[in-house]
């Protein structure tokens, strides 16, 4: 009963916030609606027992991707009127894609009678009495350890590459020297003055 209520709640909010994402005029609001949609989608995933994907949605999509979007939207000076100017030009292509997506929806709905996915018949089922986060952890850090470490190296190469290609030592930059700041005493930097009345301070 509670699961059903939660499902309808999450599903309704996902649909609503999805619609708001594409209809709201302010792009910042769009991103915020998108984040709400992600949160509720994560709730749906929790309901069907895929807690790993639920956490992934929140950590990766909300935590990184959506926040990045938000930064981009806020920082960049995007002229949305100009972006929309191409609407007529690309209307046909857009329409074609819309038809394609609509066709996919129809096909998916036709598959309705096939019944639900038989998750217990998949090729690599999760072991009994183990949540799927635990199962993934077991695989990732034992069976696939070698590949996991390799993936770590790939990320390291990406980091090194980004620095090699973009970093340049700039002259004339004032770096912070903490030791000098700490060593500075009040008497070096401040002076006690007693200015006579009506004359102002002489620096």
């Amino acid at each position: 009963m509670i699961a059903a209520i939660a499902f309808y709640l999450f599903a309704a909010v996902v649909l609503l916030s999805g619609a708001m994402t594409i209809t709201s005029r302010n792009p910042v609001h769009s991103v915020l609606w998108l984040i709400l949609a992600f949160f509720n989608a994560a709730g749906l995933m929790l309901l069907c027992g895929a807690e790993f994907i639920a956490m992934l949605l929140i950590i990766v999509y909300v935590g990184a991707v959506a926040v990045l979007f938000l930064f981009v939207v806020m920082m960049l000076d995007i002229d949305f009127a100009e972006l929309r100017a191409g609407f007529v030009r690309y209307a046909m292509i857009g329409l074609a894609f819309a038809v394609l997506l609509a066709a996919e929806v129809v096909i998916a709905l036709l598959g309705w009678s096939a019944g639900g996915l038989k998750l217990d018949q998949r090729i690599a089922p999760t072991p009994d009495k183990m949540s799927n986060i635990e199962a993934i952890g077991h695989l990732l850090y034992s069976h696939y350890l070698f590949v996991f470490e390799g993936a770590g190296l790939v990320l390291l190469v990406a980091m090194i590459g980004a620095i090699v290609l973009t970093h340049r030592a700039r002259g004339g930059v004032k770096g912070q020297k903490i030791s000098r700041q700490v060593a500075r005493r009040p008497q070096d930097a401040t002076r006690n003055m007693q200015p006579p009345v009506g004359q102002g301070v002489e620096l």
Partner: protein, 481 residues
């Protein structure tokens, strides 16, 4: 699973990654000044990884639950990869020292080490995941290396082009991998082979086609070769030498492993693809090279052409075929590295690199030694008999004929005559044209030494190496069957 045994079998990759991490720290603290030390230490690390190959890494067999294969085939390919990587580290400092503005950073050897670790994963892959992660590790480092000269427009263009097309190829490969996984239910090569053996399936065939398309891109086989001339021309010459040797070895060895181990039962399906790519590469590589004016572009087309010959050996699909591929790879790496080492010596009086073929004219009078070495490499690439390049071509054609692919061998042989034209043209330009301004002389003893060693290896002196090479490649090929 026995962790100690697994780690021992992967010792070369461990040495390379730990070495790369340590050198990265040295580079981070030492800065620009540490470049020289980092470079030579990186060569030592590669040597260490090579020594580690003598241990369980060459015979331990399947470790990490089948993800990794430590066998003679992988060990043979790794030796070639490490040698090529070491050479491209050694030749870099002098190239960058005389360039304008863009100096060599200590990250260069580190990236080559990481790339070598990725290539090691590729040739040792026993699973589609290892294959993909290794491939990405190698490619990602290669993209950065291609645009290492940031201020040079062509270098930046090369990096960008390589990156975009490489990402596309990775996508194609992944699509194939996902199809293969979806229809076979596993990513392990052995189990995939069982699935292919069980019967025909449209999904599996589609997956095979996409996987081979992705691999063909990494090998730069026609019709997925378009990036090669631009990237080879734009990238800094030591990096180009690296691209033309080590990653090529890794990609070809990987393709051989996938074809034989994972898709062996589907030989009829992939043979068509390999034969088409092979003939197209041989013919296109030969014809398109004729009009080239830039030596690096010419060598790029030459590498496309050579991949075609390598694929002739793979098309045979037999143990002799795999062995001939390895023989060809060894000799090809020597010839290509030699060619690029000579391109490195091409500097005008101010020390700026020149790359036109015209600048080679009359080199026999101005630099007789270099011209002779270049002539050896070119004759060998053309497959003229007393040199080792001939025996390489002989080996792959022999394997193809033995496997009953007589038409393939004939067409390949005829097309290699077209290819000979442009190799011989360089020799003609060097020996019979009136001299152009001489190249700047230098006292790069290491490079001259390397050129001498490679030229001697290619020359009839190398005949002594042929027999042990044949034995070693047969032993390596046996690991796959």
């Amino acid at each position: 699973m026995d962790w100690i045994a697994s780690l021992q079998a992967t010792l070369p990759e461990l040495v390379l990654s730990v070495g790369a991490l340590a050198l990265m720290l040295v580079a981070a603290w030492g800065g620009q000044g540490s470049t020289r030390a980092v470079s030579w230490t990186a060569v030592a690390v590669l040597l260490g990884a090579g020594i580690a190959l003598a241990g369980p890494a060459s015979y331990a067999g399947v470790v990490f639950d089948g993800l990794y294969r430590a066998d003679a085939f992988a060990a043979f390919a790794k030796v070639l990869i490490y040698v090529a990587a070491a050479v491209s580290i050694v030749i870099a400092p002098r190239f960058f020292a005389r360039g304008d503005g863009d100096s060599l950073h200590p990250e260069y050897p580190v990236l080559i080490l990481l790339s070598a670790a990725g290539m090691g994963m590729m040739v040792s892959a026993g699973d589609l995941l290892t294959l993909y992660v290794g491939l990405e590790l190698q490619s990602l480092a290669a993209y950065v290396l291609a645009s290492f000269m940031r201020r040079d427009q062509r270098s930046a263009e090369a990096g960008l082009k390589y990156f975009v097309l490489g990402a596309l190829a990775s996508g194609i490969l992944l699509y194939g991998i996902s199809l293969v996984y979806g229809f076979s239910g596993t990513t392990l090569f052995t189990d995939i082979a069982t699935a292919y053996g069980a019967g025909k399936s449209l999904g599996l065939t589609f997956g095979l086609v996409f996987v081979f398309a992705g691999l063909a891109f990494k090998m730069s086989a026609v019709p997925f070769h378009m990036w090669t001339p631009d990237v080879y021309e734009g990238a800094p010459t030591p990096v180009t030498a690296f691209f033309a040797s080590a990653p090529k070895v890794a990609a070809v060895a990987l393709a051989v492993r996938v074809a034989i181990e994972a898709m062996g039962p589907a030989v009829a399906e992939w043979r068509q693809i390999v034969i088409f790519a092979s003939l197209a590469s041989i013919i296109f590589g030969a014809v398109a090279a004729i009009g080239q004016k830039n030596v690096k572009r010419l060598l790029a087309y030459s590498s496309i052409n050579n991949v075609g010959f390598l694929l002739v050996g793979l098309a045979a699909g037999t143990q002799e075929g795999v062995s001939s591929v390895l023989i060809y790879l060894t000799i090809y790496v020597a010839m290509t590295l030699g060619g690029f080492l000579i391109v490195l010596q091409m500097r005008d009086a101010e020390g700026n690199p020149v790359e036109t073929i015209d600048s080679l004219s009359g080199m026999s009078e101005t630099r007789p030694g270099l011209a002779a070495a270049m002539a050896v490499f070119m004759f060998s690439l053309a497959g003229i008999p007393p040199l080792l390049g001939f025996f390489a071509k002989l080996a792959v054609f022999q394997a193809a004929v033995d496997a009953g692919l007589f038409p393939l061998a004939v067409v390949g042989f005829v097309a290699s005559v077209i290819g000979a034209y442009y190799y011989l043209r360089i020799v003609k330009v060097m020996y019979f044209d009136s001299p152009a301004p001489a190249f700047q002389r230098s006292n790069a003893l290491v490079e001259y030494g390397l050129i001498t060693v490679l030229a001697l290896f290619i020359s009839p002196v190398g005949w002594f190496a042929l027999k042990p090479l044949g034995v070693a490649t047969m032993a390596a090929a046996k690991a796959l069957f």
